[in-house]
Amino acid sequence: MVLLQVTLTLLLWQSGAGGLIPAPTKIAAALGHLLTTRLLSDNILVSLLLTGQAMFWSILITLGFAYLSVIPFFSSIAQFIVKCRYLTLTGLIFIFTLLTRDGSQLKLSLLVAGIVPFFTTSFLSVIVNIPKQEFELCQTLGYSRWQSLYEVIIVGKADQVFEILRQNFAISWMMITMVEGLSMSEGGIGTLLIRYNKYNDLTNVIALQMVIFGIGLCFDYLLGTLRRWLFPYTKL
């Protein structure tokens, strides 16, 4: 079914292509060429490393604030972080430039600042929706507050942290092209995309978009598989 839909779309695209919009065959040829060059693999590696670092720090910060949100002082801070989803980073880039040492740090801090509000929103909703009975079962077993927090939120919701990670990987992967355009010296798939875009090389731009899309899907599948393997009860 999916194969039929894809084939139909490609056929329609191929027949309607012309002028500025490149045909799928041209894009496939460009993609094939890109895949054989080291340029693409090197830049993908740079982008993946940056995304990995950003995800790592974002998770640490999110979990810190989310776990501490049960304490009233941190609850309001966590709520403020949630509201920061509505802040656009564009106007804040100069401030981030002043606060960071180099381009690498600037990109990382922008990514983290962009991801954390979405991570925190997702994880706080998990915490808010914990059934009261999970804490009551802990109480009946004679657990202290910290033991209950460990069992119900840290151990019990580890699978959901992983799911949030999987869902929000898309956000960080989408943002990578934006932040890499700010400091192009280190390269990255975003830098490559901006360069092709600058020269209006739409064939390579779409080919590169395909690569970004494909990597995103691969990671989505990989993280999903890893979650089912680490937390087998999620399959039940």
């Binding site: 009975q133 999970e134 009551e136 109480q139 009946t140 077993l141 004679g142 069992e151 019990g156 039940l236």
Partner: protein, 277 residues
């Protein structure tokens, strides 16, 4: 005639009241449970708390378990802590706290991320009396309750009856003398119902101080395994529910009998209870 005596008070509820949004739910609830001693036997106590739906049984259940603080009054218990050899008369009375009582919820709630073995181990580790024998205790209980084959499974993979037994074992492993059960017979078919009733009798006979408090509206089954019945109901012209009647089934010769349901006195008692509701 069965020889028995009623000794120390194990649980005392004094003047319990509870209100929600100015609506009185429980009013002046008073009752006590005493240690029943039968020569040559380890006889625990099985007390049933019977009332109509919506009368406040679950609220009283939560207050007794320490999960809910009453608006007024107190629940005090007398139980052995770590050393099970200490006679109960030497244990001091203290207000009930969450964790003092074993609680089996109506839906047999378990941690969905823990296997049965892990859940039982979590409970057993809370029981200092088990020392380093937690794993042996789990194996022994699992064998006794026919759960050895499902120890590696998650709660979602178990049937309702198996989940209930896991909940009971979990609370028994924790080592509390008191076990509160909220509607343990609801939703069970006839065959399983009798098995569960038999299981609870076994639990009550496992220790002299083991005290089961069953909150239920299944009158027949509950009364057939109880030694005392408390009826929660309303008094004319007064708000909230309270204990309106206490029935001593031992005095009527209806406790600790396997085929008690066949007796006329049992049928009369059931009719009497129904009349009180």
């Amino acid at each position: 005639m069965t020889t028995y005596t009623k000794e120390e008070v194990l649980l005392q509820a004094r003047g319990l009241s509870l209100s929600y949004d100015n609506a009185c739910i429980l009013r002046d609830v008073n009752f006590s449970i005493r240690d029943i001693v039968r020569p040559g036997l380890q006889q625990g106590q099985v007390v049933s708390l019977i009332g109509r739906s919506g009368i406040g049984k679950t609220q009283l259940f939560r207050v007794l378990s320490g999960l809910q603080k009453p608006g007024a009054g107190s629940v005090t218990i007398r139980q052995r802590l770590a050393a099970r050899t200490v006679p109960v008369s030497l244990c001091t009375e203290h207000p009930v706290q969450p964790g003092d009582m074993g609680v089996v919820f109506q839906n047999y709630y378990q941690f969905g991320w823990r296997t049965v073995r892990q859940s039982l181990l979590l409970a057993a580790r809370q029981n200092k009396a088990l020392g380093c024998t937690e794993k042996d205790a789990i194996e022994a209980y699992a064998a006794r309750f026919e759960l050895s084959g499902v120890l590696h499974q998650y709660p979602q993979q178990l049937s309702g009856g198996q989940q209930q037994r896991v909940s009971i074992i979990q609370q028994l492993l924790k080592g509390s003398d008191f076990l509160l059960l909220d509607e343990p017979f609801s939703g069970l078919d006839v065959c399983v119902l009798d098995k569960v009733a038999e299981l609870l009798v076994q639990v009550s006979l496992s220790d002299e101080l083991k005290t089961l408090i069953i909150v239920s509206h299944d009158i027949d089954t509950t009364v057939s395994i109880s030694d005392t019945v408390f009826i929660l109901g309303k008094e004319a012209g007064k708000p909230g529910s309270t204990i309106t009647r206490e029935i001593d089934l031992i005095g009527r010769g209806l406790a600790w009998q396997k085929d008690v349901r066949k007796e006329k006195a049992f049928a009369d008692t059931i009719a009497e209870i129904r009349g009180c509701l």
